[in-house]
């Protein structure tokens, strides 16, 4: 359980980091909190030539409000969000997701950027940030771009990063008080990777909403327009109108052949819808 040998560098600025990522030879891996990459290094599933520690870059360890969006640097940890060390524009939605990720010692080092780039389909941020309509800021030397999270996560452990490109941070739009939010995951043991995730962000007044079914084998299934899940209309009575069969049909056409797995995913989504219908703020989930 010891990693294969690698070189270690810890650039102190973003420019130095981007230069190094652009010029380094061989198999290079970036590390932030190391809570996903660490196990893979220890198991020697990943044997990089060079590990670049990005936590020394001040730009990646900031959180700020820009217009109506919260911008979180890639190295902001789950515990930073759980403890309220970053501004809250989502009515506690981010905080509740963060507080239930893995265990406290993991949350103290695991980062939102690392979780997104690792792109484990069962990870919380992959599904939750898609449901919240978040975007990622990406950069490589001399070039910046922005992508919705659903276009960033392209498969299991697969993201749209190009050679030499890194994730700078994530932009989470404010969630108006009138919108309803529900996020439920199913784990057999507290803190383990989820077997099913359901997330909804609904605006009954505007009649719009997004829904996500996550912890599938590929990227999450996004309903960018969730109205078909509610009989074609999202109103104040959305909880009563939730149509599990529509979700089941969508999962089936997405290739989920196992009826039991579909039932679990639909049930978890239904719980997320029910949670969204409850008055906020909700108490923090029981977290490890």
């Amino acid at each position: 359980m010891k990693p294969a040998a690698f070189a270690w560098e810890r650039p102190a600025s973003l420019d130095a980091l981007l230069d190094r990522v652009a010029d380094a030879q061989g198999h290079v891996k970036l590390i932030a909190g190391g809570q996903s990459l660490g196990p893979m290094l220890n198991l020697r599933l990943v044997e990089p030539d060079l590990v670049l520690d990005i936590t020394g870059v001040p730009d990646l360890r900031q959180a700020r409000v820009e217009g109506d969006a919260l911008v979180l640097g890639a190295c902001v940890t789950h515990a930073d969000i759980e403890d309220g060390r970053v501004p809250d524009l989502t009515g506690g939605a981010l905080q509740r997701v963060a507080a239930a990720i893995a265990y406290r010692p993991v949350r103290n080092r695991g980062t939102v950027g690392g979780s997104l780039v690792h792109a484990d389909p069962a990870a919380d941020w992959v599904s939750a940030l898609i449901a919240l309509g978040a975007e990622v800021d990406l950069a490589r030397r001399g070039e910046r771009r922005r992508l919705p999270v659903e276009r960033f996560v392209t498969g299991a452990l697969d993201v749209a990063l190009r050679p030499g490109e890194i994730l700078l941070g994530v932009r989470v739009p404010a969630r108006p008080a009138a919108t309803a939010w529900g996020y439920v995951k199913h784990c057999a043991k507290i803190g383990e990777f989820a077997h099913a995730i359901g997330a909804v962000r609904l605006d009954p007044a505007a009649g719009t909403g997004r829904a996500v079914i996550g912890a599938l084998e590929g990227p999450p299934l996004l309903f960018a327009d969730a109205r078909p899940l509610f009989g074609g209309r999202i109103g104040p009575d959305f909880a009563a109108r939730f149509d599990g069969q529509a979700a089941d049909a969508a999962l089936l056409s997405a290739g989920l052949a196992d009826a039991v797995a579909r039932h679990v995913h639909v049930t978890v989504l239904a719980r997320a819808v029910a949670q969204a219908a409850k008055p906020t703020p909700l108490p923090l989930p029981e977290a490890a």
């Binding site: 359980m1 010891k2 040998a5 690698f6 070189a7 270690w8 560098e9 810890r10 102190a12 198999h27 590390i31 909190g33 190391g34 809570q35 660490g38 893979m40 290094l41 220890n42 198991l43 599933l45 990943v46 060079l50 590990v51 020394g56 990646l60 360890r61 959180a63 190295c75 902001v76 930073d80 403890d83 060390r85 970053v86 893995a102 265990y103 010692p105 993991v106 103290n108 080092r109 695991g110 980062t111 389909p121 498969g155 299991a156 452990l157 507290i190 803190g191 990777f193 084998e217 590929g218 056409s253 997405a254 290739g255 989920l256 052949a257 196992d258 797995a261 029981e286 977290a287 490890a288």
Partner: protein
Amino acid sequence: MSAGLAESATGRMALALTVNGRLHRVEAEPRSHLGDVLREGLNLTGTHLGCEHGVCGACTVLLDGEPARACLTFAGACAGAAVTTVEGLDEDEVAAELRAAFNREHALQCGYCTPGMLVAARDLVLRLPEADERRVRVGLSGNLCRCTGYAGIVRAVTGVIAARRARGIGPEAGAARPLGPVGARLGEAAAASRPPATPARAAAPAAVSDLAGDFAPAHRFAQAIDLAHPPEAVFALLNDIEAVAACLPGAVLAGRPEADTVEGGLQVRIGPIRATFRGRARIARDEAGLSGRVRGAGSDAGGRSATEGEIRYRVSPGPAPGTARVDLDVGYTLTGPLAQFGRPGLVRDLAGRIAAEFARTLDARLSGAVGPAPAALDPFRLALGLLRARLAAWRGRA
């Protein structure tokens, strides 16, 4: 280079750490995690190593005052940090109360989990003064104990919390801390080159069974690929082992000791994971039924992960005239670290991507192209689009 770290010529880092209040300078390879630095470098063996991948919690220490996994914190990641191990909690007031309670409630037997359990419990006591038994159980779920059944541990921690609440002690406000992973100091530049490579171990011989007996795979899935060529042409090409190997991404054909047996390797990638399996496969065909069976076994370079598998295929007419569909029934068993990490779904996702690339190059070869198909040609785009649709339909739990 900061005072915290300096590179020495041997690929080791000179590392400054404040451990249990004392400044230490240790040398460590970049791959050494904090648990090994403490145990091997400083002889602080109170920090225990269990799973070494973040699950068991035995190695939990305080990093800049907050609990963190020592096994997932590499040496260079915590240069300049303050570390508190169980040895450093002797004078700690909360730890003293917990030790007395653990003693009273019989909260340990072998003691292996206890150092991590005490660090995690101390964090709960300070952070969650209102916690009830259920909340304590949830809070300790990241620390595994195989002796006690947790009952004594939960009683001990719940008792300390209740006693402190009775004394009117509130939650610790928590020291102001910068955003980012605990222990990761800003401005601590660090670098170490890769240590000189040790001579590579001779690859262990692939674990090859006789490939004749019955095989009961641990996992099965089905997949179909569509090709814009007649079934007979597709089936004929599948008999050309060299062509098939050339079309299969990451595959290398090493030899053909017998007419029905091939030797070779397959390099696979899942995200950052790269593994090369070497082994042997036996091939059987049913000419009349346009079907066949490939049975193979192999192991990765270090011989740590091994796989055995069987692919049954059948070529049939596709949805349009002159097209073919290849139905694959894949069964496999995977052992070793790759199996420990890899959930079956990830393997299927990977197999889907390999199959898509395989079908693309197979299609190109059937169209007369040599080598990788030029992506600009429209028919290939068409086939690829068809495949992506199949792939999208296939992804998911089979």
